[in-house]
Symmetry: C2
Subunit: 151 residues, 2 copies
């Protein structure tokens, strides 16, 4: 299931491996105001709307003490993206480049990483600002943000 099946100029697809190597659990669901990809902001902003991350009941205890962390790294699965492109031509730039030189959703493993501001936590639901994904996106991980010490 993809939003965008047509190759643009310069784009190259490769055959995917015949099998995957490990399995991911969807551990919750992300609710945002954006129902189609074209509506999503290019990049989440702390001035953006409050979104909610609803964690499955099985994992609620894992949220213990998460409210101590004002910035959370959210990993989610971009379930609508094709996975077979090695070269891509973003509409925004028109320049063809490698998938690993882009943060596009289209990549072998469609995992996104965003850092959000935690607004509140209640009953297994996090309220956050800073996301830019589609409503209904599956959650796969939450971690305290580690401010990089890189210069």
């Amino acid at each position: 299931m993809t939003d965008d099946n047509e190759l643009r100029s310069g784009e190259v697809a490769v055959p995917l491996p015949s099998a995957t190597d490990a399995g991911v659990y969807f551990i919750g669901i992300i609710h945002t105001p954006w129902k189609v990809r074209g509506d999503c902001p290019k990049r989440g902003s702390l001035d953006g709307p409050v979104c909610s991350i609803v964690v499955d009941k099985r994992w609620h205890q894992a949220l213990t003490d998460i409210a101590d962390h004002p910035r959370i790294q959210v990993l989610y699965w971009m379930h609508r993206s094709r996975r077979d492109l090695v070269l891509q031509t973003p509409i925004r730039t028109g320049q063809t480049t490698g998938s690993f030189a882009l943060r596009s959703p289209v990549r072998p493993n469609p995992i996104a990483s965003s850092v959000v501001a935690l607004v509140g936590v209640q009953d297994g639901t996090l309220l956050v600002r800073g996301l830019d994904c589609l409503d209904g996106t599956p959650l796969i991980d939450l971690k305290p943000d580690r401010k990089s010490s890189l210069p």
Copy 2:
């Protein structure tokens, strides 16, 4: 397969779901000097040793232009970690807390995210500084680092 099967004081495991929801491709392998978990640094440093990330041939074209990015976000699969703990008691602190309030390898989806300095790229292999993972760790994604605009 886990390095550490015994529960420590305060730790809580839950039953895992009966099936996974999506599949991950291992797209390469990471080579580091650390052969067992106890040898890994607590956190990678740019002053640390050069490590190599060997990308599978299938995905080589996706590395096009990656050398333009001095900082790369690396996602990898911590294949030796158990996935069923919701409360953990790190040896370092002795304090029991939620898995999502820790960056421990033990989590429902054992995906790690590190930002590294790119030293060089040749023939599908990246040389980088800043990793802290085991030798032989499977690679799942490479992205240009997005310096957070968060305050």
